[in-house]
Amino acid sequence: MTAPTIRVQSENFDLQVEIDALTAGRKDIGAVVTFTGLCRDEQGQLFALELEHYPGMAEAEMRRIADLAMTRFSLLGLTAIHRYGKILPGENIVLVIAAAPHRQAAFDGANFVMDFLKTAAPFWKKEHAADGTAGEWVPAKDADDAAREKWR
């Protein structure tokens, strides 16, 4: 078991580079599941998202979530990258890669990490509207809390 790779960064990430880094030299991995979250334009209403984070705690919380997933699903590898700062529609926000011997653990591991990341990792989205009006903070969704509850 390799320690999870956790990064909080303003710059973009490259999906293929991250998959290659996770699987390089490995012959035990039979399944790799990736999730990429992108910024939507909300039917042209959104100019940009601003991602605020709690430096230090964001990494620490992502690591706690990743460690739980590694153990629970016996993953062989896990990468979680979350961006902060201004993100335009079409750009990447978050990446989760889960590697396992078989597909079910890889799917479940990636799903678990995303459900917890959305509700427990200290990041907040502010919307900047296309018409230039002042940004609004995105409200938390009950559906995200419900999604997390299914893992109890």
Binding site: G37, Y54, P122, K126, W137
Partner: protein, 85 residues
């Protein structure tokens, strides 16, 4: 007790600063006491902590519930529900 408070998102905006060190009276024992104490510090705090039940708190960068004692905290993060991912 002196403690460093850090604020994020709309909590930070409503209070008008990202962090501050404050000296707490001995009567402040739990996170809930802290939020009630902060609420009394002025209009901007009252505005930020109007509905304390939605406020999330982390002590030394780990999530805690509102009944958690704050004794020994070096840094207390105070913020709205998270919306990353």
């Amino acid at each position: 007790m002196k403690v460093n408070l850090v604020y994020f998102a709309w909590v930070r905006e409503r209070i008008g600063k990202g962090e501050e060190e404050i000296d707490l009276p001995d009567s402040v024992v739990t996170v809930r006491d802290l939020l009630e104490h902060l609420k009394g510090l002025g209009e901007e705090y009252e505005n930020a902590f109007q509905y304390t039940n939605v406020i999330r708190v982390a002590i030394n960068q780990e999530h805690v519930e509102h009944d958690e004692p704050i004794a020994g905290a070096r840094e207390i993060g105070i913020f709205p529900p998270m919306t990353g991912g």
